[in-house]
């Protein structure tokens, strides 16, 4: 049974026995959509990990004799213009999406966090300079910036990932900076500074724990966005390149070209993208409900 919250102060550590995980479990119990979103994410992770076991066919093997065949028992999602099994391609596509999401959000979060920590902790001129650079990057819409970066680096999955990471950095740095600025107001940080603790120790022991919740919330929401941007880039032809089965690429190449004869080619990859993004968005909402007391009431 979950232990009830006893602390009422926003931002203070919660009652003993109910750490972050405890709060998350409580939030999940209250919110069936949260459980569903966690389920979607687990399902996606399992599908991506065991793609070679789950996929009924080779995603790259063409079978021209059954090209553009409608969904059937043998091919539940139908086949594409050169007879590749769409279900297997969608399953393998989850690997690309999750991989890009994981690395892009990982890099974007770590770099954004470092910049935010430095900016918020030391403030002053360095802070102002770093934040102006972040403003400048943010002034360019994410997708356009990613497009420009990918075109410079040449289109590929890895470069799409790097571009997405760069798009993520400014927003993250700003959120971390805000959290650091408010964490610095805590008495224990002042006390640690007065005792002459080294900066690194103060940051790691006293500030970082305050910053982790907002980072995880925003990372979860960015994960969905990263999948979306990768799919958009691939859709526009500058992300993952054929014949790799990326969801966005499947939509743009076969999905659009054969939409009148074979609408399933447009339906299933899009459904996969939507489901994945939905899962991460809802999970981000659940995390926020669990960890951000200010937003809990407004739901």
């Amino acid at each position: 049974m979950a232990i009830a919250r006893t602390s009422t102060f926003a931002g203070e550590p919660v009652a003993e026995g109910q750490g972050w995980l405890g709060e998350l479990v409580t939030a999940l119990r209250r919110n069936p959509l949260g459980v569903a979103s966690a389920g979607i994410i687990v399902l996606l992770a399992l599908t991506a990990t065991f793609a070679d076991v789950v996929a009924p066919y080779d995603p790259l093997a063409p079978q021209p004799e059954i090209r553009l065949s409608a969904p059937s028992r043998a091919h539940p999602f139908g086949t594409d213009d050169i007879g590749r099994d769409v279900l297997s391609r969608v399953i393998y596509g989850s690997r690309i999406s999750l991989w890009v999401g994981l690395l892009a959000v990982g890099i974007g979060t770590i770099v954004g966090m470092l910049i935010g920590l430095v900016s918020g902790y030391w403030e002053g001129r360095l802070d102002m300079m770093l934040q102006r650079v972040m403003d400048a990057v943010q002034a360019i819409p994410g997708l356009l910036l990613a497009l420009a970066i990918v075109s410079v680096l040449r289109p590929s999955t890895t470069n799409a990932m790097i571009a997405i990471a760069i798009v993520i950095i400014p927003g993250n740095s700003r959120i971390v900076r805000g959290a650091v600025l408010s964490a610095k107001q805590n008495r224990y940080v002042e006390a640690a500074q007065a005792m002459g603790c080294r900066h690194l120790r103060i940051i790691v022991r006293h500030i970082l724990p305050n910053v982790t919740a907002p980072i995880l919330i925003i990372a979860s929401i960015w994960f969905g966005n990263a999948i979306l941007i990768e799919a958009s880039l691939s859709f526009l032809g500058v992300g993952t390149q054929p014949p790799e089965p990326s969801w966005g690429l499947m939509l743009s190449t076969t999905g659009r070209a054969f939409f009148e004869q074979a609408p399933w080619l447009a339906v299933f990859p899009g459904l996969a993208i939507s489901l994945a993004v939905l899962g991460f968005n809802l999970f981000g909402d659940t995390l926020r409900d669990a960890w951000d007391p200010k937003l809990r009431r407004s739901g």
């Binding site: 002034a139 819409p141 032809g237 500058v238 609408p263 899009g270």
Partner: protein, 316 residues
Amino acid sequence: MYKYVLRRLLLAVPVLLLSSLIVFGLMRVMPGDALTALMAESGNVGEKELAKLRRDLQLDRPYVEQYALWLWQMVSFRPGDSIFTGEPIATSLKKSIPVTLELATLALILGLVIAVPIGILSATRQNTPADYAGRVVAVSGLSLPDFWLGTLVITFAAIWFRWIPSIGYVSFWESPTRNLQQFLLPAAVLGFRLSAATMRMTRSTVLEVLREDYVRTARAKGLEGRIVVYKHALKNALIPVVTIVGGQLGTLLAGTVIVETIFALPGMGRLTVEAILFRDYPVVQTNVMLVAGALVSLNLMVDLMYAWLDPRIRYH
């Protein structure tokens, strides 16, 4: 107020200069610059022609000089010519900006028309089936990629209604009906995506405002529920909604890139994507900078709108 506007304008200058440096830098990092791509396109181009082209495009000058020249071109509204088509960029922008503006405005209007009423309905009927339905619409708007929605709309419009997006663009002044036929579906796709966040924000702020004391007072003196919501609650509830809409202008502009590509609308988004694919760097850097400039000024306008909406806010 004037001081605030002036300070914000002055702050925008270094941000835009930095953005221009980033864009300029990016374009110069291109491995194998635009000319190599051009050579591959047109077959055999000799060293002599290449050198002449470099000179014509001023690619042989030092970077600082190229940057200064580009800045001057941008400021004086003469952004040079496209490498590929040879057309002056100003001319192609003159054709494409109205398309994007119309698409974005229509999408914004449609987005608000979808979002605000559903958000209010969701909040005033909290935890009823109407609320759940509204929230599902909102979350799906956030999760359905616009390029998928666009593809599906085209697919099923073609299968069911035999409707195919027309190739040639017709301006509103030429034929309003044909123009709207072209724009309504893409704007709806884009507007639906925008409506999601606005809807969620409207719902949560209306919920919050409905719990305020002055709303309770209004109710206590016997005002009808509808008047309480529309006359007392809504104005305050809409202030954060303006923030959300302002924050989404970037998404809106990025969305036009995708939607224009899918629906074959000759707007700025499509122009930029094509320029990126062809490595037509003068066009790319000009367009990206224009978008950044538009975004910075729009955000300033959004900030100023708060003061108009909420007299409690004063700028210093």
